[in-house]
């Protein structure tokens, strides 16, 4: 398949179309409003379901296969925030807090982008390692810690409480559900998993579609901040994920991941967090401007990855890892 065909398949998936419907609703000032509680419920469901499936797969994975991708993922979580911080400071001329905030977001990971990548590969018919959710969990935290450390070292003006932020980060709901779900899946195994599959497997794509409807509305609300965000942020929000995606695919391929697995590690690296990172950054670096990092992560990078990024990273991975 050519990249254009892939983009088309991706854009015409119900999930991406629901995202577009959400954007449309906001741009038309529709009174459509999903209850906050639905959003929260769906995000809990998605994280738990991702973890659960990963845990079941992990139980059947030998350490020999798993360690190299795990280490590669950890390295990504350390390298990417450093690079992102440098870019934001040097090219973007941002202050320490804003640069570190961006680094935390782009180093960490978006579970929904991951879920969309899985669905995309399923549709295209490409296999990937079942333990990928474990890599999501591994990639989520370190980058945030690294970014906050950088801010600390670079002397961001005080005001935040980064010890507290770290503690809350490690017990934050996204980590807890992802890791908790994995442990449940690992302990319950395929038999236990089958009992809850009608909810946690069969409903997954539909729930994701609903969630993306809401995220489309959220992203579109960020669009109005785009003009004031400036050209740098626009460029950063598109070029940074492509660069990170390349890095992720490359790390994936040398650590032995399949084509599908490398694509997903690329997507993970390319994605920007918007659950764990904003909460931690708000507490540790309150002087950083949320209008800045939320706009970049949700208003630019997320739509880009969802619409163009998925087929793009897959195409690049095909070149690097070799055809399927």
């Amino acid at each position: 398949m050519t990249i254009l065909e892939l983009v088309q398949i991706n854009l015409l998936s119900p999930m991406v179309l629901a995202f577009a419907l959400g954007i449309t609703a906001t741009l038309l000032h529709s009174d459509l409003k999903l209850p906050d509680e639905l959003y929260t419920t769906l995000s809990i469901y998605l994280l738990l379901a991702i973890g659960l499936k990963g845990g079941i797969a992990l139980a059947e994975t030998s350490l020999a296969v798993f360690w190299a991708p795990a280490v590669a993922t950890l390295l990504l979580g350390i390298i990417i925030p450093v690079i992102a911080y440098g870019v934001a400071r040097k090219i973007g001329k941002l202050n320490v807090a804003d640069a570190a905030a961006l680094a935390a977001h782009y180093g960490s990971v978006s579970a929904v982008t991951f879920a969309a990548a899985q669905t995309f590969l399923d549709t295209v018919g490409v296999r990937y390692e079942g333990f990928m959710p474990a890599l999501v969990a591994i990639l989520e935290v370190p980058a945030i810690v690294v970014a906050l450390l950088i801010a600390q070292v670079a002397g961001a003006p005080q005001g935040g409480d980064w010890r507290k932020a770290l503690r809350e980060l490690l017990t934050s709901k996204s980590i807890l559900l992802l890791v908790g779900g994995m442990i449940i899946g690992w302990l319950a195994g395929p038999r236990g998993g089958k009992e809850v599959a009608p909810v946690f497997v069969d409903l997954f794509k539909g729930a994701l579609t609903f969630f993306l409807l809401e995220l489309g509305m959220v992203a579109a609300r960020r669009f109005r901040d785009l003009p004031s965000a400036g050209l740098f942020l626009l460029g950063f929000g598109i070029i940074m994920p492509i660069f990170n995606g390349l890095l992720g695919i490359w790390f994936g391929s040398i650590s032995g991941l399949s084509l599908g697995g490398s694509t997903i590690l690329g997507v993970l690296a390319a994605s920007a967090s918007y659950i764990a990172a904003p909460a931690a950054v708000r507490i540790a670096l309150p002087q950083a401007n949320p209008g800045f990092y939320l706009t970049a992560a949700l208003g630019i990078t997320f739509p880009f990855n969802l619409a163009i990024g998925l087929p793009l990273y897959y195409t690049i991975a095909s070149w690097i890892v070799g055809g399927h």
């Binding site: 906050d36 959003y39 929260t40 005001g159 409480d161 507290k164 959220v218 609300r221 960020r222 901040d225 918007y274 659950i275 904003p278 909460a279 708000r282 507490i283 309150p286 002087q287 401007n289 949320p290 209008g291 939320l294 706009t295 949700l298």
Partner: protein, 101 residues
């Protein structure tokens, strides 16, 4: 029926601060609080609560000196960087002692 005048301090704050502010209130001498969820807009731009979760509206009935301390504390710690608004008023209650008066 005899009524006592106490201060009602109302605080609007982004949800991420919930635990910290409640902890502070207890430290400063409040014996209770009531929280509702709200949404809002002010002079500051977007805050973290705007896209995930709502803001909080915290009410606490306290003696005047505690109200004063709470406002001072909020002004010093949260006003600079966080989307926090607070106001205070006089209200009458039946059992002043319950609120430390």
């Amino acid at each position: 029926m005899e009524l006592t005048t106490v201060k009602l301090v109302t605080i609007i704050a982004e949800a991420v601060l919930e635990e910290r502010i409640l902890h502070d209130l207890r430290q400063l001498g409040a014996r209770g609080y009531t929280i509702g969820t709200v949404q809002g807009e002010g002079t500051r731009g977007v805050h973290a609560s705007e896209w995930e979760g709502k803001s909080l509206r915290i009410e606490t009935l306290v003696p005047p000196e505690v109200a004063e301390k709470i406002l001072q504390h909020l002004a010093a710690v949260y006003f600079p960087h966080f989307a926090v608004v607070a106001y205070v008023m006089d209200v009458q209650v039946v059992r002043g002692a319950k609120f430390g008066v």
